[in-house]
């Protein structure tokens, strides 16, 4: 049975070295590039001729964009709409990476199953929150760490906890996405291995893990979408802290 971790292996395609850093173009880079091309095609075709009564592609783009704008309007308010393009970019990147990683037969790779990439995404959100927070509120942004009505004698403890939880956000954001993607792909690979090993014993036995894998594929597609949604939702909730300070 193939090692279920093998699918996550980074393979160098074009070796590249700059200033002692290994910047090689790898399979991860390739699939991120494919994602970029797919998203570009989607967005450029969808917005080629924006019309009041949208065509199919424009309606599809609008559906996703409206989804993000509604999420921001609900969680942040009117001021949050300024950040809709950035949150949309994060959302569509995660969604496309997750979904394209599910394409079978083409040796596809899921960049979002790697913590380096998800951490990069999480840092974008984190840095955005910090910049927006300080830009809008200056040093008053620190009051985020002291919820209103905290009794004075527990204030240091509360502030410490709040500060820690604030700092841990990029990590939880990164690990949640990476772990979900990794676990799902490992599970599919494991059951795929079962199909072969049990099928070799008896063809009828192989059907059972195959059926499980069919169900898992549907589940993974759901998780691919849900995790992109969760990532964007948490990003907008964190953004709300920066814009409105609780």
């Amino acid at each position: 049975m193939a090692n279920p971790m093998e699918q996550f292996k980074i393979e160098t395609i074009v070796p590249l070295n700059a200033g002692g850093f290994d910047l090689s173009f790898t399979n991860s880079s390739l699939w991120m590039l494919i994602t970029l091309l797919a998203v570009s095609a989607f967005l450029f075709i969808g917005t080629a001729r924006p019309q009041l009564v949208p065509g199919r592609m424009q309606a599809a783009v609008e559906l996703l964009y409206d989804f993000i704008r509604d999420m921001l309007r609900e969680n942040v308010g009117k001021d949050g709409l300024r950040y809709a393009p950035l949150i949309f970019a994060v959302f569509i990147f995660v969604l496309s990476c997750n979904l394209i990683g599910m394409v079978p037969f083409v040796h596809s790779f899921t960049p979002t199953s790697h913590i380096a990439v998800t951490f990069g995404l999480a840092m974008i959100v984190f840095i955005l929150v910090v910049i927006v927070g300080f830009a809008r509120h200056g040093l008053h942004f620190f009051s985020l760490f002291l919820p209103e009505g905290t009794p004075l004698f527990v204030a240091p403890l509360v502030a410490a906890i709040e500060f820690l939880s604030f700092l841990s956000r990029p990590f939880t954001l990164a690990i949640r996405l990476f772990a979900n993607m990794t676990a799902g792909h490992v599970l599919m690979k494991v059951f795929g291995g079962f199909v072969v090993s049990l099928g070799a014993v008896n063809i009828g036995l192989g059907i059972i893990p195959l059926g499980v894998n069919v169900a898992l594929t549907a589940l993974e597609l759901l998780i691919a979408v849900v995790q992109a949604y969760v990532f964007a939702l948490l990003a907008s909730i964190y953004l709300n802290d920066a814009v409105n300070l609780h």
């Binding site: 980074i10 290994d22 991120m32 994602t35 964009y65 970019a89 790697h114 380096a116 990794t182």
Partner: protein, 158 residues
């Protein structure tokens, strides 16, 4: 797990940075705001259309109310006119009937009077005729000459 191999971190982060920067600045920023503008324009259009429809509905409602009051007034006027006409007609026929009745009564009275007159003259004629006949019959049968005046006096005396 290849995910925790730090050797690939720099390359992954570098390419992620490059591709996400491209995605945001070269793809999302030039395209998405166009759709956002269209969505806002559509919302504004739909809002103004709804407002216009609301105003038109209000105008239609007032028109219908006006029409209804006008219809009601016209109906009332027509009913009043009909009632009036009926009343005048009834009054006119009443007077006519009364006049006709009076004329008929007068005619009947006149007829009765002339009948009485005719009856009186007929009776008088009858009496003279009877007296003459009687006097002639007496003259022929008995041979006594008596005048009709005597006969009349004799009849009146009985």
């Amino acid at each position: 797990m290849p995910q925790f191999d730090p050797a690939s971190f720099v390359s992954q982060l570098f390419w992620f940075g490059v591709i996400f920067t491209l995605l945001y600045f070269a793809v999302v920023r030039p395209t998405l705001p166009k759709v956002g503008k269209v969505i806002d324009a559509r919302e504004a259009q739909v809002g103004s259309d709804l407002d216009r429809a609301e105003a038109a509905k209000g105008a239609a409602d007032t028109l219908r109310a006006d029409h209804e009051t006008a219809m009601k007034a016209a109906r009332d006027a027509a009913q009043a006119a009909v009632a009036q006409a009926r009343e005048t007609a009834a009054k006119a026929s009443d007077t006519q009937l009364k006049a006709l009745g009076a004329r008929l009564d007068a005619d009947a009275e006149a007829a009765a009077a002339s009948l009485e007159l005719a009856l009186g003259s007929a009776r008088a004629g009858l009496e003279t005729t009877v007296a003459e006949l009687t006097s002639e019959a007496v003259a022929k049968l008995v041979g006594i000459e008596i005048t009709p005046a005597d006969v009349s006096a004799a009849i009146a005396a009985r």
